[in-house]
């Protein structure tokens, strides 16, 4: 085998990494807008799904324009509030995209985005994004509340890396559907969130849903996430529902 001088090895490596670096940055810059767009469309789709919209996305010819159209049509208002319920002048969508960073701050310092849904001037629904830590990675979701700001109108959850077939089931219908109709305040008007019960929810309880067998940590993490994120909205919800 031919031997190579150290000088050659250095020069070879240098040229190689330069070529690779240029190539990768070029591709990254080229594809960035498309990738960002995908993320935004996904968030919009999730918001819509929590209020039972964007159902025909599989049949839509152009998914992106379909989602954008539906979002523009049904999400009539969006704003950001702080822990005490005062309005903050930032874009709600931006806050939602950066929710991962937001939830690392103490509850009192976070910004809380709200999306208001209304179909043809009908009753409003309020969609709030939630995010937390699952077993293997982040989990997140969107909770839609009826106009009374107490009853859950729909909830969707998703995850980055929960155990397939177990914790990963939080993004399936059988887990999400029972949330609909539950309430987050008890009769005395105190915030209680929704509990995810191992061993099955008490059917008469308005604040419990079934956990996933074999997915206890994910289920508990989801419960924790709801409590953690919804707490920040309590002041605001109380203010507007009076």
């Amino acid at each position: 085998m031919r031997s190579f001088s150290n000088r050659y090895i250095f020069v070879f490596s240098l040229i190689m990494v330069t070529i690779v670096a240029v190539l990768l940055s070029f591709v990254s810059v080229q594809l960035k807008p498309r990738q960002d767009m995908n993320v935004q469309i996904e968030k919009k789709q999730d918001v819509l799904r929590s209020v039972g919209k964007a159902e025909q996305v599989a049949e839509a010819e152009d998914k992106n324009s379909y989602i954008n159209e539906e979002f523009g049509l049904f999400i009539t208002e969006s704003y950001v509030i702080d822990f005490s319920g005062d309005l903050v002048e930032i874009d709600a969508f931006k806050v939602m995209l950066g929710l991962g960073a937001e939830i690392r701050r103490p509850q009192e310092e976070r910004n809380y985005p709200v999306f208001v849904y209304s179909e043809n001037g009908g009753p409003k629904k309020y969609v709030v994004p939630v995010r937390g830590k699952g077993l293997w990675g982040p989990i997140w979701g969107y909770v839609a509340l009826e106009a009374d700001l107490n009853t859950i109108a729909g909830a969707v959850f998703d995850h980055k890396a929960e155990t397939p077939g177990l914790g990963s089931d939080i993004n399936t219908g059988w887990f999400q559907e029972p949330f609909t109709g539950k309430t987050i305040f008890n009769e005395a008007g105190e915030f209680v969130s929704v509990e995810v019960m191992k061993g099955g929810a008490d059917p008469s309880s308005m604040h419990q849903v079934d956990a996933i067998s074999g997915g206890t940590i994910t289920s508990k993490a989801l419960e924790e996430m709801l409590k953690d994120c919804l707490t920040g909205y309590v002041a605001h919800f109380k203010a507007i529902s009076q």
């Binding site: 085998m1 090895i9 070879f12 591709v27 990254s28 990738q35 397939p164 077939g165």
Partner: protein
């Protein structure tokens, strides 16, 4: 080595393509790349995408290494191989994120883990470093296809028996469920991938005794 030009699809070259599909299959014979075979085969769609991604990475990096084989200093050859594979994988990942976002989410870390797929490093080191670009290209295709078809076969059975669907479409009729049929939840769990791979290995060795070790 003869100076005569070999036809592109000579028997020797075709063998490079066909052998990894069966007799020297990377998964069932060499038992490489098992980790991803366990992880992504719950559903058919991600398996197909991963198989195609591995195919692209493997064919291109095999050719690239083969072209560079006389220039690469042996002392840093492993590093060079890694850089080339990693570059290809990042490219595939970026393209998937832009054009097949849903699938890239399902595959999540496994696209990145193609870098550590032992089959690719193995072929670069064992074949591409010592052969011309065209045979290397065929060798890459063959091995990736050998890996891919096992992946897809395993996913086929796991999705069918575990979820009753294929490519997310319901194939087991509702009447079966009404009659008491239940999806086998075990099939969704990673260990069952090993069992399915084991059954494939068993069938293969039962039919071809020369593969059986003493």
């Amino acid at each position: 080595m003869s100076n005569e030009k070999e036809p592109l699809f000579s028997a020797k070259n075709l063998k490079l393509l066909s052998e990894p599909l069966g007799q020297s299959n990377p998964i069932t014979i060499q038992v490489l790349g098992i980790c991803s075979a366990l992880a992504v085969t719950v559903k058919l769609k991600p398996s197909i995408v991963l198989a195609i991604s591995v195919l692209a990475v493997m064919a291109v990096s095999n050719v690239a290494i083969s072209l560079l084989r006389k220039m690469v200093p042996p002392r840093i050859r492993i590093i060079v191989q890694l850089v080339i594979i990693a570059t290809m994988v990042i490219l595939v990942d970026q393209v998937l994120k832009a054009y097949a976002y849903d699938v890239s989410k399902q595959l999540s870390v496994f696209v990145g883990l193609i870098i550590t797929n032992c089959i690719i490093m193995g072929r670069l080191e064992a074949f591409a470093l010592g052969n011309k670009p065209w045979p290397s290209f065929l060798d890459g295709l063959g091995n990736a296809a050998g890996y891919g078809w096992i992946l897809i076969a395993v996913a086929f059975f796991r999705e069918l028996l575990g979820s009753g669907t294929l490519l997310d479409m319901q194939v087991i009729p509702q009447a079966f469920y009404d009659a008491g049929y239940v999806n086998n939840g075990m099939m969704i769990l990673p260990p069952m991938a090993l069992v399915v791979v084991g059954i494939i290995i068993w069938i293969q060795r039962a039919r071809n005794k020369s593969l059986v070790e003493d």
